[in-house]
Amino acid sequence: MLDSVDLSLVNWSRAQFALTAMYHWIFVPLTLGLGFIIAFMETIYVKTGNPEWKRITKFWMKLFGINFAIGVATGIILEFEFGTNWSNYSWFVGDIFGAPLAIEGIMAFFMESTFIAVMFFGWNKVSKRFHLTSTWLTAIGANLSAVWILVANAWMQDPRGMKFNPDTARNEMVNFWDIFLSPSAVTKFLHTTTSGFVLASIFVVGVSAWFILKKREILFAKRSMVVSATFGLLASIMLIASGDSSAREMAEKQPMKFAAMEALYEGKTNAPLVAIGLIGDPQDDPMDSTAHEDFRIKIEIPNMLSYMAFLKADAFVPGIKDLILGNRKHGIMSYKEKIKRGYKAQQTLVAYKKAIKEKSPDATILRAKFEDEEWVNYYFKYFGYGSYYDPDPVQLEKNAFKMIPPISLTFYAFHIMVILGGHFLMLFACILFLLYKNNLENNKIVLWTSVWTIPLVYIASEAGWVVAEVGRQPWVIQDLMTTSKAVSQIDSSSVMITFFLFAFTFTALLIAEIKILTKQIKIGPKKQGGRQ
């Protein structure tokens, strides 16, 4: 079966989706966080009546507007891709994915487009309080519209609240709240939005540091830093807490991703966390049962991985090989068994469709299986694994080893994200301390570090998505649909052409954004009474 998959098509489709999603994510987190930062600044202006805070608010609002405008609608491309390149996937999940995306579209359009207009056009035309309310509603609206896409993404990582309809080949929503309030959705929303808050805080801190280094607008820059570093520090703490919940969630629902994140081949009790590590030579591709852990260098924190995953220092954390080959002692079902069960579910679906076509009485019996909770939990739950079935047990085991995500990429993306997350927290704390001691201007190292942390925060932000999306391969919907089965059977050259078209368009947009932003930053805030 696996030989029939056009890897060129799958890889180009994945590359195109990754490209558009990653470009989209360059613009989104700044909008999510900067919206709140300017809302805080404007609140101080309204409370104190000090026009300097209005000037501060208007400057950052201008940068918010540029970023918002360049980024707006870049996510629409992803929806185009669903229908064209991922038609099997779109059909299979349509009812569940469609509803959150529709709500997102309506909410984003009405809330953001209405209140953002008041934000930019409303100075001196509406009351201070109404303007402030609009600024807050823009920030809240942007974050609320992110809820829906994150709920949809969380469902793909932990599908629930739905029932598969074998007549339509679609998953149908049976419990909205089960999907909306799933632990994966809640942690994903908190972790993603707080990462946006941290990114925006670093952006404001970095730009403000540049002003101080240039000995321009010192008071303006320090005030901006007080707001953003305080917000950033609190958001960093929330980010670490939500990341911790997310790791526990992952250890339970996506143990293979969790093992790949730490390059853990053999399961362990009292498993240590690799704080810093350099992976050795790549293992054979695909791996087999001889694969083993290979680090050139590593610094470990004893028991930490067990604690992180299960809140117990002596808990057993399954490794990649435990998951593939199974581990009876710890009650871990092998991938080989899951493949067999998934194949059975797939064959039941094929038999049902055949029985319908032939108007056989078996159709009723087969249809009933999809309604039987016990059967669904025993077989259908592993539906996607069936794609790796082979009647030859040796080949089946080989196929099971093909279900491991790219380990090095997942490992490094995770560690880059975590290490940089720690750096951001320290930087915010350091800046607040130096501001408190009134000694920031003299500390060139901290100021330059702040400036150069701007690109680092974008790297950390993208790395987070790499962990989430690369780490869950080969799944597009965990346990139900593999990436190779989700793609449309179209000509791979057409996907290649659109890949380069997107690459060109989005690069042009990014260059435009950077040019306009840097120009406006260099101009700086207008003097009192000047037009923004």
């Binding site: 064209t84 056009f121 080949a169 078209l501 406006q520």
Partner: protein
């Protein structure tokens, strides 16, 4: 007609007493805002419009047709096609 009267009632409900006058105020608010756009905002609006044109006219029309809608006439055929794809040994 029904939509128009419902919309008017909604405006009254959320605080607009004189619908025509208030609507004019809203339109003037936007017109005035767009007339007084600073240079950076004009550049940004140009980029937005160009981007939307590229996305919805060029990409959507020429490159991104819905495959299942294009290739099949009804949902039954679409479902059978997807089932075949996801279960083919």
């Amino acid at each position: 007609m029904l939509i128009r009267s419902t919309f008017s009632e909604l405006l009254v409900f959320i605080g607009f007493r004189n619908t025509k006058k208030d609507m004019k105020k809203i339109v003037d608010f936007y017109v005035d805002g767009f007339r007084n756009l600073p240079d950076w905002a004009r550049s940004v609006w140009f980029i937005i419009l160009l981007k939307l044109f590229i996305m919805f006219v060029i990409f959507k029309l020429f490159f991104f047709q819905n495959k299942l809608k294009k290739d099949f006439n009804n949902d039954e055929d679409r479902a059978n096609h997807v089932i075949e794809n996801i279960t083919t040994p």
